[in-house]
Amino acid sequence: MSTDVSDAVELTGSSVAPYSPENPAPVIEPPRTRTKRTPRSSRTNFEMYGWLFMRLSGVVLVVLVLGHLLIQLVLDGGVQKVGFAFVAGRWASPFWQFWDLAMLWLAMLHGGNGLRTVINDYAEQANTRVWLKTLLFTAVAFTIVLGSLVIFTFDPNIR
């Protein structure tokens, strides 16, 4: 630490005249130099869009998820009615296909982005951060792909 200070502070007696009207005081380098992993200015709006997406998808998910729970668990005889035939009947309609697809994508991206934020906030080491995020993105991608595949290729005559 002491060597850093002596490097940063231009003391009198060095070869270059340290003081002048332009340079009236010793130059002290800013101590908060950012690491190489965090570029000074990315100049992208990714974080802003991420923040906006969380708010908007949250509002939509309230409607989608609560509606989903109400229909599946409360209306028309409750949870007992849910079976293969019930799902087959629902997915015959493009409306419910879209509902479930939207719910799947929004919930996975919303939850995934939320966990990404939690990892960014709480993972202390860069390595941990990378591994946790890799695990998270794999899980999100896997679930989205599998779910979409099922919704689009669902065959009611499978048995």
Binding site: R32, T38, E47, M48, Y122
Partner: protein
């Protein structure tokens, strides 16, 4: 001129008598201070100090009393000692406050009063932390007037309404109580922190300033305003009563309305 029976001396001794008589107001408090001396030990430890003090005095007075009368090695920062310079932000009973604005009677003197350095910054000794990262974040948002064109030959005039727009954030004294109460800052010192955003807000919403776009671009960064989780710790901690979280939200809103 000065005889043993001079009125000055009489007055003095009566003042002393009065002071001794009022000593009954004093109560005994225990200050539990987080002490750290890197030249002695790698570890910080809690040390208790018992002292008689008037409950209407401040925690800073208690710290002074300890340093001047009990243990001269106690190290802490203070300059003006009246809530203006922002030097003596410490964590008292788990809350960030200015030691010079916290009265003993307001923080339950029956129990030991814990005093520790503010969190998230490197402790150098006892209650003194390294403030460099904090001030670097402050410098990074360019907290000065930026204008284009020729300088006017008179003052830059501003309406009362325009001045009101950023009045709240002009109150900041840079004590770091907000930034060091922020859980995001505790975990990642790369986050600008509430204080830097408050001081950017002060210029972004100043009608005379023309550097708002640059400051917004800086705060749009990965470590900028989007890391705020609106936990309101900063608003609770601010000894000047600045609505810090509101200011951060206003910067977010400015960023969004600028894009759309």
């Amino acid at each position: 001129m000065s005889t043993p029976n001079s009125p000055t001396l009489d007055k003095h001794s009566s003042a002393l008598d009065a002071a001794e008589a009022s000593a009954s107001h004093l109560i005994t408090v225990t200050l539990r201070i987080r002490r750290f001396n890197p030249e002695v030990s790698d570890h910080a430890e809690w040390v208790d100090y018992q002292l008689p003090i008037d409950p209407k005095e401040r925690v800073l007075d208690a710290l002074h009393k300890i340093k001047w009368e009990i243990d001269g090695t106690l190290t802490f920062r203070r300059s003006c000692a009246h809530g203006v310079c922002g030097s003596d932000a410490v964590r008292i009973n788990g809350r960030n406050r200015l030691a010079c604005k916290t009265l003993i009677k307001d923080i339950n003197p029956e129990k030991p009063i814990t005093v520790e350095p503010i969190k998230g910054l490197t402790v150098l000794k006892d209650l003194v932390v390294d403030m460099d990262p904090f001030f670097q974040a402050y410098r990074d948002v360019m907290p000065f007037l930026i204008t284009k064109g020729n300088e006017p030959t008179r003052e830059r005039l501003q309406s009362a309404e325009d001045r009101e727009r950023f009045d709240d954030t002009t109150k900041c004294i840079l004590c770091a109580a907000c930034t060091s109460s922020c859980p995001v800052f505790w975990n990642d010192g790369q986050y600008f922190g509430p204080a830097a955003i408050v001081n950017a807000h002060r210029f972004i919403f100043d009608s005379r300033d023309e550097g708002g776009e640059q400051r917004l671009e800086i705060l749009n960064d990965k470590d900028g305003v989007w890391r705020c989780r609106t936990t309101f710790n900063c608003t609770d901690a601010c000894p000047r009563g600045i609505e810090v979280t509101k200011a951060i939200q206003e910067v977010k809103r400015a960023l969004i309305t600028r894009r759309f």
